[in-house]
């Protein structure tokens, strides 16, 4: 191969390669939890920040009853957190990224499909005793992430993942978690 | 009886309407040093190309060391050494690699260095041929032709591109090979350089062999004095229709 051919081929090859090093992988670069005055509080920890092809990222989400009274929690899908998602604030009906949990497979109320999910709308209720907490693991599958950015944790289907009340006769209160999860794209080049 | 080194019978080559070689009948005996002379375009290279199976004849036959040069190419080339005209060497390969290619293909046991010493290139044995001058390439090709002690050495314009030292070297090689018993068949358009080495010459002109014989015999035929050169013979034979300038070109 002479010099000209060699240059032509390597230029063509390298420019073609720019977007070819596999599909993008992400890092959970930060998780920020806002203060809320509810009797309910969420603690979100990124247990596995690496959203790679071979292994999803993992969030441990703990729902705490910070109050002195038992809280009755009502939602759909799986109890108590439901089918969660991360949303970038766009117009779409459901959240942008579906968070996956092992409970979905165990429950017959949630069906996860390769490019979406569906659920049964029958309400589930349960009680979280005062000062108790409950922890669930959710995974972020990189295939379901289409871009890096800041996402808000919310219900996948409805913005509100759950409702609660502190007594049998109290009104149901919609719970808005305020958790921001930031994903950044991993670069192949150091 | 040993067959002639080269024997052609009505050997012709045409390219379209152009006759490059016209019914050549020529015999070169084994052990001879035969100078194949003529101006550029006379058909010398065409003849060698035919004998080496570089090209196929339009008509006629030939035998090289008793073999059919086109259908029995392996047996034929096993015993022939060729130093071609108008060639380039392999620029990335060293002189040693060039010789190994020939030595190993012929399954000969020559030492590349010894061969290169014979042509004065031993110092350049590991250098890639891409760095060689034309004269060095010519010497390398000559060394390649000597591999395996060939019975027939075909040298196509071996003096081209050589300085006086190189010319003397080719003459020495031709003499040494002839003494060993090899037949040497070489072509040249530089007539002045062949007097000293040839047993016999053939003169080719416009695709025809117009004269053939030992130099004394040719001088007699042409009625020239004993100090006449091949050039004079050539001028006489072509009746001055080829000018000396063209012959030397």
């Amino acid at each position: 191969m002479n010099r000209r051919q060699y240059l032509a081929v390597s230029t063509a090859a390298l420019s073609g390669l720019a977007g070819c090093l596999g599909e993008p992988e992400y890092t959970i670069s930060s998780v920020e939890t806002g203060d809320d005055s509810h009797p309910l509080a969420l603690d979100v920890t990124a247990v596995d920040r690496n959203i790679a092809i071979e292994s999803p990222g993992q969030l441990d989400i703990t729902l705490r009853n910070t109050g002195t009274q038992d809280v009755i929690i009502k939602n759909t899908g799986v109890w108590p957190l439901g089918v969660l998602g991360l949303d970038s604030g766009g117009e779409s009906v459901s959240a942008d990224i579906l968070l996956l949990a092992d409970e979905y497979a165990e429950a017959d109320t949630v069906e996860v499909r390769p490019n979406g999910a569906s659920k049964d709308n029958a309400p589930l209720t349960g009680t979280l005793a005062a000062a108790e907490s409950i922890q669930r693991q959710y995974e972020i599958d990189g295939r379901r992430v289409s871009s890096a950015g800041a996402y808000t944790l919310q219900g996948y289907f409805d913005e509100v993942p759950l409702s609660y009340r502190t007594g049998q006769n109290a009104d149901w209160v919609a719970y808005h978690p305020s958790v921001t999860v930031t994903l950044t794209e991993q670069s192949m080049l150091p | 009886m040993t067959p002639p080194a080269i024997e052609t019978d009505g050997l012709s080559k045409q390219y379209g309407d152009v006759v490059a070689l016209d019914e050549l009948n020529m015999t070169v005996a084994q052990g001879e040093v035969y100078g194949f002379l003529g101006p550029n375009g006379a058909g010398k290279s065409t003849t060698i190309n035919l004998l080496m199976d570089y090209i196929k004849p339009t008509s006629g036959t030939a035998r090289v060391l008793g073999h059919d040069p086109w259908n029995d190419v392996v047996a034929c080339h096993q015993r022939v050494g060729i130093c071609p005209d108008r060639f380039e060497t392999y620029e990335s390969l060293s002189a040693r690699r060039h010789l190994e290619l020939v030595i190993d293909t012929k399954r000969a046991d020559d030492d590349p260095r010894a061969l290169l010493e014979r042509v004065g290139l031993a110092d350049a044995i590991e250098r890639p041929a891409g760095e060689f001058s034309q004269g060095m390439e010519q010497r390398l090709a000559l060394a390649m032709s000597l591999v395996g002690e060939p019975d027939l050495l075909i040298l196509d314009e071996p003096f081209t591109g050589l300085d006086p030292h190189g010319v003397a070297l080719v003459r020495d090689v031709v003499e040494a090979e002839s003494e060993r018993g090899a037949t040497v068949f070489f072509s040249s358009h530089v007539l002045g350089q062949v007097d000293l080495v040839c047993d016999r010459v053939g003169i080719l002109y416009e695709g025809d062999l117009i004269a053939e014989g030992t130099l004394p015999a040719l001088r007699d035929t042409c009625d020239l004095s004993s100090d006449a050169t091949v050039e004079d013979i050539f001028m006489r034979l072509t009746d001055g229709s080829a000018h000396a300038g063209e012959v030397d070109a």
Partner: protein
Amino acid sequence: MALPRWFPVARKEATTLLKSKGTWILAPLLVVWGYGPTYISWDTLGPDVTVGFVQVAGSLLLPLCVLLLTYRSIIQERTSGSLKFLLGLPLTRTEILIGKVFGRSVGAVVPFAVSTVVLGVIGGFKFGLFSPLRFIGVFLVTVLYIAVLVSVATAASAVTTSTVRVTAVVFGGFFLLLTLGWKIVGVRLYSAVTGNPVNPLDPPADGLLFAILRLSPGRAYRTVTNWILGLANSGGQYTSVATVLYPGHSVNEYVVDAAFSGQPVPAYLHESIALVVLLLWGVVPLALASYRFNRGDLA
């Protein structure tokens, strides 16, 4: 056993390639080109996704570079006159062609082998231990594919008298039409012959369509390697094939299993036939070229 007579010619060809910078630049390019995991292919193949990298490395850049490294191998010697040395050796012209093909193939396989090892290490590190048998199998089929490409380019180089023509035949014809663009050309051909339109996202279960597609050496190569991967019967890149098979996804690729879903598949669409197609590409053009090369004037 004695080495064949053409072996020194093959050694010279391999040495020439391995001394050229172009050959060695191929190795890192193939690694970068071949490495391209997708979520779906990981989901489908698991650690064997690494084996797929080798297929991708072998799919576009490798043919292009192998053709570039070979297409002038004879015409160049003919033009420069160095062919006179080869023709002057005690070899038949066919043996010269075989030596050329063998030597250039080895010269091209070496950098490919280096990149295969690197891809194996990178992939094995990230995705875990893959099936060594599949990995070696795909490597060997790629080696065969390299030999086929060298054979085709040598054949073209042997029968033309101008570099321009051999460039047109090898890159315009063989590479662009038959290797790179055959998915489009082949489907058009099928539609022209049968009059059936083809929806690329939902191709008809017609054996002829798939048979035409499989005539491309590149698609035949991928059919065999997808077979070794245990993926599906298709001449597409493994990532595309995995996507076609993935529920809820579709992509413009022709997969026998998807198109025929449940219907009987004609025997000639078996993957082993693609191996035969590949072998024919290695033998037929060279045999035809050899026939002409043996009879032509070469100086």
